[in-house]
């Protein structure tokens, strides 16, 4: 226990406390910092540009989380069908993007989507479809980076769902069949309740991943076009590393931490209650 506490203290809690202290200062990382109290936190809630990044992050999460979960669940359901030949190969293929670095995946997608040089645009133009410059279109840039994130990560959630599906006792389905339940009713009344713990895990992790979206945005859009994909973490990077305002960047980090914590607790509470209802 003690070694774990030492490691946690040195690499998690101490840095977090240092960042908390930093959030109450005006600091560039060079030279002495100046105590400014809550000024950085006040800036966050009075600067429309920073507030907009919270809205964009929320939009990202609303698009990413359900999409990733639904796609993952659908593939998990298909790939637990014992009648399907080559299930293992499919699972591996769909899981592969997850082990690729997000930066590498984002570079690859950037080139695929390039309107002049990209293969995807070239192929689609042969059948009369012109995607255009989706990464610089203010309406399509955010959905596009969400699609890349879903492609990259749904394989992981799929594997978690597959593990959850394999834990459901077969006799529950048999009992449902005897009671006359069809495929849809078996899914709604057996599969979904039995997966509640899995859902809790996947929803919380997908939400946290969405709130921390950065890599593919940095690579694919740089936060553009004109800040339409500037998420909170992209803003933290910009404030910290481009404007050298580490105090404000730390304050934004803590606001994000708080939002993430509250959302996660609400989700755990919701799924925990749901689980009790199922068991009870």
């Amino acid at each position: 226990m003690l070694p774990a506490l030492v490691i946690l203290g040195a690499f998690v809690f101490w840095p977090m406390l240092a960042a908390l202290r930093l959030s109450f200062t005006e600091s560039s990382g060079f030279g002495p910092s100046r105590w400014v109290g809550l000024a950085n936190y006040s800036t966050i809630f009075h600067d429309p540009k920073i507030l907009k990044t919270l809205g964009i992050t929320a939009m990202y999460a609303v698009m990413f989380t359900p999409t990733a979960i639904i796609v993952a669940l659908l593939f998990a359901l298909v790939l637990t069908n014992k009648a399907l030949i080559g299930r293992g190969a499919f699972r591996t293929a769909l899981f592969l993007p997850f082990i690729v670095s997000m930066a590498v995946a984002a570079f690859a997608w950037s080139y695929l989507l390039d309107p002049q040089l990209g293969l995807l645009n070239y192929w689609l133009s042969n059948v009369g479809i012109h995607l255009g410059n989706v990464l610089q279109d203010p309406r399509l840039a955010l959905p596009t980076v969400v699609v890349v994130a879903v492609w990259k990560s749904f394989g992981f959630y799929m594997v978690v769902f597959i593990a959850g599906l394999q834990q459901i006792p077969e006799d529950l389905y048999e009992a449902a069949r005897i009671d006359g339940a069809g495929r849809w009713r078996r899914f709604v009344y057996v599969t979904v309740p039995q997966l509640s713990t899995t859902f809790a895990f996947v929803v919380v992790f997908a939400t946290i991943a969405a709130l921390q979206a950065f890599d593919q945005i940095y690579v694919m859009t740089g936060g553009g076009p004109y800040r339409h994909t500037q998420t909170v973490v992209a803003e933290i990077y910009s404030q910290g590393f481009k404007k050298l305002d580490l105090g404000l960047a730390s304050a934004i980090s803590y606001v994000l931490l708080l939002i993430t914590l509250v959302l996660s607790l609400v989700q755990f509470r919701f799924f925990g209650r749901h689980e009790k209802d199922v068991v009870g």
């Binding site: 998690v12 240092a18 960042a19 610089q136 919380v204 076009p225 481009k242 050298l244 993430t260």
Partner: protein, 428 residues
């Protein structure tokens, strides 16, 4: 409790990313160096010269190390982006460079935040005064009345063009005015299948994140406008700039001479793949064109109503707060060596950048055709936002206006909004 700890631990990673930078930064102790002139001093030098220029710089550093026995410089080649991403954290952790080169427009923000040491004593020395350094280049090193860096590169943006495509379009001479430029770009734009999306563009005109952030400032200068006046106030919404932005937005939207949504990197890609006949760029594009077997020419940016003008790409080298007094003195010794006539000539010839000393005659560098061409247009160069600490915000505001204008926005309204944003940044 477990349910609290799990999300807390995972969500904390964004905070942890920042906390890596939370060192006090007040301790300037350096691992290297000594306390007397006779002691040997070691310096680490980061730079982003990754092409042929990097090899020449390596050679110059090596020659400097061999020329004396008190100072040893170890140079580390990174990309410019990598330097921007890692300089802050490395200096905070006291593992950064003692000497670093970076884009000149980024120098003011690092200087204003205390990352660099003042170099006024270096500029006051007789040796530096006698070096006849390019005044425009040196002006980019000044922040709040003090010098924080030395120029290692200063070159006006220029147009690189594909001679083969020019010949195929029947164009024999490079244009000198905007009207000629757009007319030629229209001739060079080909939409063979008539689907409204040209297969070949006359010009790759980026509308954001342009090379050295200088493409639009160059056009604004050429149209008689600018970004900031001599007293540091925004003039982004001037009538001249509105006319310039309207002119180029029309050329892109109505005549389709360039795709929209390009940044500097994508523009390079279009030109080097032969899908654009012209691009506004820097000297390194000559090497990229040669690698792609493009028969290229280099010319000055054609002039608008105010004649030819171009924003300069500047590279500065500064001494970081990590360096102690001996290391700073050693760095200045290297700068003096770097600016000596022979080394400055060697650097110009090898890097493709025009000489930083004004007393080096054009004939001394004419053996390199790129340097010769760029030296011929060096008089059009203007420093970009010298001494402006919040240049990031000013340039981002301009980027937003140009990008929106090229997709149909009203130039006057967009520049007005950009000017308001820039004014706020300039007043902070």
């Amino acid at each position: 409790m477990k349910k609290v700890m799990l999300p807390l631990a995972v969500a904390a990673s964004a905070v942890l990313a920042l906390s890596a930078c939370s060192g006090s930064g007040s301790d300037n102790t350096s691992a290297a160096g000594g306390d007397g002139a006779s002691k040997h001093v070691s310096l680490t030098f980061w730079h982003g010269y990754t092409e042929a220029d990097g090899k020449v710089l390596d050679q110059i550093v090596d020659d400097f190390n061999k020329s004396q026995d008190q100072v040893t410089i170890t140079d580390v080649t990174k990309t410019w982006a990598d330097i921007g991403d890692t300089l802050l954290t490395s200096l905070s952790a006291k593992t950064g460079p003692d000497l670093v080169a970076l884009p000149a427009e980024n120098l003011p923000i690092y200087a204003s935040k205390g990352a660099f040491q003042k170099l006024d004593d270096f500029y006051d020395s007789d040796e530096t005064k006698g070096a006849s350094l390019n005044e425009q280049a040196v002006s980019m090193e000044k922040v709040d009345g003090s010098y924080y860096g030395v120029p290692t590169g200063f070159v006006p943006l220029s147009v690189i063009y594909n001679k083969k495509l020019f010949a195929a379009a029947g164009i024999s001479a490079f244009p000198t005015t905007w009207d000629e430029w757009v007319a030629d770009a229209k001739k060079l734009t080909k939409d063979a299948d008539g689907d409204g999306t040209p297969e070949q563009y006359g010009l790759a005109l980026p509308d954001h994140a342009t090379v050295g952030n200088g493409v639009w400032p160059s056009l604004f200068y050429g149209g008689g406008g600018g970004l900031v006046d001599d007293s540091g106030h925004s003039v982004i919404d001037s009538d001249a700039n509105v006319k310039t932005l309207t002119y180029w937005a029309d050329a892109v939207r109505k005549d389709h001479i360039s795709p929209t949504g390009l940044d500097g990197v994508k523009s390079d890609g279009l030109f080097s793949s032969g899908k654009a006949a012209m691009e506004i760029g820097g000297p390194w594009m000559a090497g990229v064109a040669a690698d792609n077997k493009i028969d290229y020419g280099i010319a000055g940016v054609p002039g608008g109503s105010a004649g030819p003008a171009a924003s300069a790409i500047g590279i500065s080298a500064g001494v970081t707060v990590q360096a102690d007094a001996d290391q700073k003195a050693a760095a200045e010794k290297f700068f003096a060596y770097f600016f000596s006539q022979d080394v400055a000539t060697k650097w110009s010839l090898g890097s493709g950048w025009p000489p930083l000393r004004t007393d080096i005659p054009a004939s001394a560098v004419s053996s390199n055709p790129v340097v010769k061409a760029l030296t011929g247009i060096a008089g059009t160069a203007r420093p970009l936002l010298p001494g402006v600490a919040n240049s990031v915000d000013v340039l981002a505001a301009v980027d937003e206006a140009t990008q929106k204008a090229l997709t149909g926005g009203d130039p006057a309204e967009l520049l007005k909004a950009a000017s308001a944003t820039a004014s706020q940044a300039l007043s902070e």
